[in-house]
Homo-oligomer: 342 residues x 2
Amino acid sequence: MTASPMAAHPTPERIFNTLNAYQNTAALKAAIELDIFTAIGKGAQETTAIAAKIGAAERGVRILCDNLTILGFLTKEKNLYALTPESALFLDRRSPANLTSILGFLAKEEFTGQFERLTEAVRKGGCVTQDGDNTKPKPEFWVAFARSMAPMTVPASKFIAELLPSGERNSWKVLDIAAGHGMYGIALAQANPQARIVALDWEPVLQVAQENARAAGVADRYQLRPGSAFEAEMGENYDIVLLTNILHHFDPATCEKLLRRVHTALRPGGRVVTLEFVPNEDRVSPPTAASFSLIMLASTDSGDAYTAAELSLMFQKTGFRNSTIHAMPGLPQHVMVSEKAT
Amino acid sequence: MTASPMAAHPTPERIFNTLNAYQNTAALKAAIELDIFTAIGKGAQETTAIAAKIGAAERGVRILCDNLTILGFLTKEKNLYALTPESALFLDRRSPANLTSILGFLAKEEFTGQFERLTEAVRKGGCVTQDGDNTKPKPEFWVAFARSMAPMTVPASKFIAELLPSGERNSWKVLDIAAGHGMYGIALAQANPQARIVALDWEPVLQVAQENARAAGVADRYQLRPGSAFEAEMGENYDIVLLTNILHHFDPATCEKLLRRVHTALRPGGRVVTLEFVPNEDRVSPPTAASFSLIMLASTDSGDAYTAAELSLMFQKTGFRNSTIHAMPGLPQHVMVSEKAT
């Protein structure tokens, strides 16, 4: 919600709405927890019917559904609520693309709690707890990430799989660094039946990736390498290395340290595929990618949302060439592909 | 922030941004606490200068200022930040209209904490703590309100004072019910030098109103009536009764009980002036007024954001006539004026 476009003079409406923006988070969280989207998807349209289906009070349901309509997650015609295409696809639990599990990470107190101390984080210039150094193991936190965030990756993992045509080489050897749920590597394994994936992450996190690989029917081509991206033996002669949502956790020097290790692990001509929130040079657009920097300020010691130029420079300094940046239609992240010189 | 307008297919961006919307609240809160707007207003334009002025880290300041730019509270040109007209007026502490004090209420844990239990509130249909009945005294909470929210009232109190031309009667006798900071009654006293104001509220709250009346130079025409709006002796023969931001706390039956008391206290032909968040009949527009219902769900047993028709009906049932509704340009609230039949 923004200030009234009609206002000729400055008004406090935007300030009021921003100070109350946490209430929007609470509304969507409550709706997912109460499974309101599934109830409406199953045919409940009026407050009474929805309230009966989810076992909640009519006053509560009416006010929540009105607020979900204001936020763009429902439509309302007379007194009948309906799902938007977005809610039907992503918030109805019966949908194969449902991503309601992301609450398990995005609403996790260890994550949201960092923002309660944001003033301190700005003063200090980084995370105010002991959790800001992501080169250190935090397996429990990343297991929650891996268990929760997999559905968010589907469109981007398809994009990456299509970006790397599977016909070009008989068999790929792929290293998925900080694999998490493993979905990006698994998508490559599905796109290329001869691809073999090596997933690197903390040991408890890799169990989640392995479960997902089994569910996707690619477990026989899925190998686990437990350990730190900065210390573990990575193996060699890879065709492709995946760096999805990892570089933003570190400062450029640490990123370059990792890229040198990646360079060593790749065969000549091999490629590294980086997925990141990449703001424009102004660092204030587009909004979702640019605002990701705040999450890095609150939760890491020195991470950032890097621009394409900054990423390119890191790759250039570590022996890569031909870095190309790819926007993903409708998605807030970008993919960068860089080659190891032959 | 909304989903990319270019997206041809549904994307999870709106869901992601809404689940992270509390971070916008944290960003603005941190900026106010660090007094970044005053520092920029005083001439600091670059990260380094701002960081030096507020005693914070450059990384923290750069990321926070970028996020404030994304949210519309700053502009950024090259690497120079500047205040928007809105921020200069409302967020620079040197501005007479600065309303940074509203954090003292809007960020108060007793208020924000209600939203941590919103799922329960939807199930129950109202506030899940013992604080949901606003006919009961909660003086400490309302003192925080009175001390914090006064600056928010300036444009609306001016609007009301102009809506009631002071020339029409030599001396007004005004009753300000649940006066809080007292700003609406005080504005009438300033507009009409012969107006006498009676402020009714819990005793500790009235001390704040009296301070404000003194500061405005109208203390000699400012009288206090401590007690409950539902039980205190109100006095009689009032020309005007102010009901600003009170009806939304109660169900219609309780509102009507209060309106009958107001009716008794007014002279024939006297008027009651109601200030409220008034959604359209669809209850989902305009956004700020309509979404106010969620605050009432979380924090009251049975309050609401009432439509103009619902408010009119309450007045009609309790002996009033000629209810007229007035939009305030650029403000999210409406004013209703209703007459006691002669």
